[in-house]
């Protein structure tokens, strides 16, 4: 009995759309098996079939050699299959423990035995090195810890086949590193893992074998040791992909954004941006590197007028925009690609075309004397959809129905088209496949080359190193170092982000 999981010729159809077209996936016991594919290739669908959330329209599933019929997640649980979903399945208002025990609660006389549950969670977390605070509320903990809670959920149920659907998309480099260690530990315990990720580096680092799918079809299954990132990318996208985005040297011009001595408090009143100074010039991309929670969110919100700065000034082209209302700041020439595209970027129930006019709807030609000109709005939308390769049936389709990558492209199109002097991009490629990432990076560089200032905030060191002309390291609300990406290493950046002082390059602005 070689395979713990065999998904043979799995077919899944949504309406007229074939999401999984006779895909076969075989996972060996004790291996980490990567599942690779573009956005929308059908990876999550396949895994949801395995986990019992979807019923396949064809094919068969075998677990440890037995043919099984996984009608719902309960069956999957019983078969020892656990899944860490792409979008976290955690109840925000519950504690870590409550989330973990949900559905199989230990009881004592009809009451949940919370003490016992917490003890069990603690033991489990110690055993696998998954540090969590069992009594903390999900809403209060970091994304990395949330991820660990997800893993603990599966382990708590005794799963020995674990599915990780894009676990690293939302993690910081440190957290990714920790996760990799955890996965290695889990396989050592005899568990098998299916890992979905867009990051080829991760596949190369931890996986034993990889199955590539494209547009719902299985393309190949390879031994990781016998392949390389370029081959994988080509298999997955169907063409050659450039990882290192080509770019000319920057030609910085006059300062566009000048932040001086900025202090911002978060919603709880804690000072998270602490006397921060930073300048971004025309024609350069400044990347902000830092561990999540070091003031990035508040910095961006203050820059865009969503929260008030306590003190300090923000100048745009020499003009003071500190604490102006968002619209004034937008009109002054700031574009913003927000971190959470669903919450902040789009009105999901509006057509994608109208979403593209979300900031300009009140201006000519989209609006005349208070009346909207839908012709102009949709004309513009069509142009942007074509220009930014947004894949959508038409411009009248609700934004909700687009895939994440395409939603992101629409937002970028919208922001870039307004021709802002400063473009703030926060995690612009989160969760996107290599093809889409390439596209977006090109666009950012294009902006720079047109003489715009770009401020990039990302937890992906790769991205920051690749795209930025200068990297500003943020730590505890301050810019602690400015480094040149060509002259630094990931290790050095990692140390700076962790707060260790750099000797040569002192704090500059």
């Amino acid at each position: 009995m070689e395979y713990v999981i065999e998904m043979l010729n799995i077919r899944k159809v949504f309406g007229n759309f074939v999401a999984n077209d006779n895909i076969t996936l075989q996972v060996k016991k004790g291996e980490i098996h990567a599942l690779l594919g573009e956005n929308g290739a059908g990876k999550s669908t396949l895994m949801n079939v395995l986990f019992g959330l979807y019923q396949p329209d064809g094919g068969e599933i075998r677990v440890k050699g037995q043919k099984v019929n996984i009608t719902d997640p309960n069956v999957a649980n019983d078969l020892g299959i656990g899944m860490v979903h792409q979008h976290f399945m955690l109840v925000d208002t519950f504690t870590v423990t409550e989330n973990i025990i949900l559905g199989s609660e230990p009881t004592k006389g009809g009451t949940i035995d919370i003490k016992r549950a917490e003890r069990e969670v603690r033991e489990l977390s110690e055993r696998y090195g998954l540090a969590v605070d069992p009594t903390a509320k999900i809403a209060d903990i970091s994304v990395g810890m949330q991820q660990r809670v997800e893993i603990l959920k599966t382990l708590y149920r005794g799963a020995d086949i674990l599915i990780f659907d894009e676990p690293t998309a939302v993690l910081t480099p440190q957290e990714i590193h920790e996760l990799i260690q955890i996965m290695k530990k889990l396989v050592k315990e005899g568990k098998s893992i299916i890992l979905i990720t867009h990051k080829l580096k991760e596949i190369m680092e931890v996986c034993d074998r990889v199955t590539v799918i494209r547009r719902g079809k299985g393309i190949a299954t390879l031994n990781v040791s016998e392949t390389n990132p370029n081959e994988l990318a080509a298999l997955m996208v169907g063409r050659e992909v450039q990882f290192k985005t080509e770019k000319k040297p920057a030609q910085p011009g006059k300062p566009v954004l000048e932040i001086k001595d900025l202090v911002v408090k978060d919603a709880r009143g804690v000072t998270t941006v602490n006397h921060l100074d930073l300048t971004v010039h025309a024609g350069e991309i400044v990347g902000i590197a830092g561990v999540d929670g070091n003031g990035q969110t508040e910095l961006i919100e203050a820059l865009t007028g969503l929260i008030k700065a306590e003190s300090g000034t923000i100048l745009l082209n020499g003009r003071d925009i500190t604490n102006l209302p968002p619209r004034k700041i937008i009109e002054a020439g700031v574009g913003h690609i927000p971190q959470d595209r669903h919450k902040h970027g789009l009105v999901l129930d509006f057509p994608i075309g109208e979403n593209m006019a979300l900031q300009t709807y009140y201006k000519r030609p989209y609006s005349k004397r208070g009346i909207l000109n839908f012709k102009a709005i949709y004309e513009k939308a069509r142009q942007l959809i074509a220009e930014f390769d947004v894949r959508t049936p038409d411009e009248y389709t609700k934004a909700r129905a687009l895939s994440g990558g395409n939603q992101q492209k629409a937002i970028i199109g919208r922001e870039v088209d307004r021709n802002p002097d400063l473009l703030i991009a926060v995690q612009p490629t989160r969760g996107l496949d290599v093809g889409a990432i390439e596209f977006i990076h090109k666009r950012l560089i294009e902006q720079r080359d047109q003489g715009k200032a770009v401020l990039l905030v990302s937890f992906e060191l790769d991205e920051v190193m690749n795209v930025s002309d200068r990297i500003a390291v943020i730590y505890e609300g301050k810019i602690v170092a400015i480094v040149d990406p060509k002259e630094t290493t990931e290790q050095e950046l990692g140390l700076l982000m962790a707060g260790s002082k750099r000797k040569e390059a002192g704090v500059s602005s």
């Binding site: 619209r327 927000p338 919450k343 902040h344 970027g345 009105v347 709807y361 208070g370 009346i371």
Partner: protein, 348 residues
């Protein structure tokens, strides 16, 4: 696409039919003759010009209260306070109608605008509390209904009449009634308010679908965060949405004050028009055109029902049952759609 459009029209029609069918089952089970019942209902609603006039009169405030509820819904708010806003609108319309002596071209519009303003002001309070303190608008509007009722009664008693129970009749110059309508509908209480109600529907459609402000209001209704990111002022938009909704409700009150009744009496309880407006809005899909139809349906059912006890011996309550069934079927349109698509597939 085309099929979808067709379904959009068919589903409510089917819901109404299904409601009627189940209603007739209820009648049969309880020993009434459904044919006689429905004949009476239809006769009582459209049987001759008089009944048509009454149906239209009843439809008029329903359109406006439906618009009020729908406007709030479309902008992300649940306005249960239409009833209260309607009552204050009624009061103020009558107050203007009684206290001024002006040419009709000024007096009538003034009275209607005053009612709109009163409804708007009444809605301003929950609007502000929602926007600035995040207090749930449902509770506040429920409370504001009761306050409206009691305050209005007190004002009628002490200001609009001398310690009596009703106001003076409004001056002719503020009235929506006309001899012409009276003559062609055999003395029904129909009045020109229907024109205002239809204009109201057009305004709502235009405001929401065509104007810049409407775009903002809808955006804020769907996603406050994204709207704020896009530079919209979320708070003012919430307040504005509530206020516009209240203005529609106020005008609905003016229809009663300037049209149907021509005065205002102290009220022993709510008029029900505001609450029925919730159903009207929902059956009409929160869309201006749909509301015109659903208000007509409502008006016809309510007025036609009055004919059922005397002509067919069927209690009027049966109509409430039918209305409820229709609402259920409209609400469950997902199932109807599913059935329709099965049928269409089968036919292919």
């Amino acid at each position: 696409m085309n099929l979808n459009r067709l379904n959009q029209f068919f589903v409510p029609v089917l819901a109404v039919l299904l409601g009627m069918i189940v209603g007739s089952i209820v009648m049969i089970v309880s020993g009434y003759n459904p044919i006689a019942g429905y004949s009476a209902l239809i006769y009582g609603a459209f049987g001759d010009p008089y009944y048509i006039g009454e149906t239209i009169r009843q439809t008029t405030p329903y359109i406006l209260s439906g618009l009020a509820v729908a406007f709030a819904f479309r902008t992300g708010l649940f306005n249960i306070g239409v009833e209260g806003q309607l009552i204050v609108g009624w009061l103020v319309a009558v107050w203007v109608g009684v206290s001024f002596d002006l040419p009709k071209v000024i007096h009538l519009p003034l009275a209607i605008l005053a009612a709109a303003l009163a409804g708007a002001l009444w809605a301003l309070i929950p609007g502000i509390l929602k926007a600035y303190l995040k207090v749930h608008e449902v509770i506040i509007t429920i409370m504001m209904n009761y306050i409206a009722l009691h305050v209005t009664n007190a004002i009628i008693r002490s200001v609009l009449s001398d310690e009596g129970f009703k106001s003076q009749p409004i001056h002719e110059s503020a009235s929506l009634r006309s001899d012409f309508l009276d003559a062609i509908t055999y003395h029904s209480t129909m009045h020109y308010g229907i024109i205002i109600a239809v204009i109201g529907a057009v305004i709502m459609w235009f405001l929401l679908e065509k104007t810049t402000k409407g775009f903002e209001l809808r955006a804020v209704g769907f996603n406050q965060h994204a709207s704020q990111y896009a530079g919209m002022n979320v708070r003012t938009n919430i307040v504005l949405a509530m206020v516009i909704s209240g203005a529609f409700a106020g005008v609905a009150g003016a229809m009663e004050g300037l049209g149907t009744f021509g005065n205002i009496s102290t009220k022993a309880g709510f008029t029900g028009i505001g609450f029925d407006g919730i159903a009207v809005a929902l059956i009409g899909g929160n869309n201006a055109f749909g509301i015109l139809l659903s208000a007509l349906l409502f008006g016809a059912l309510k007025v036609g029902a009055l004919e059922m006890p005397s002509s067919a011996g069927v209690p009027t309550e049966l109509v409430d049952i039918i209305i409820a069934l229709i609402i259920f079927f409209v609400a469950s349109s997902y199932i109807i759609r599913l059935l329709l698509s099965r049928l269409q597939k089968g036919a292919e």
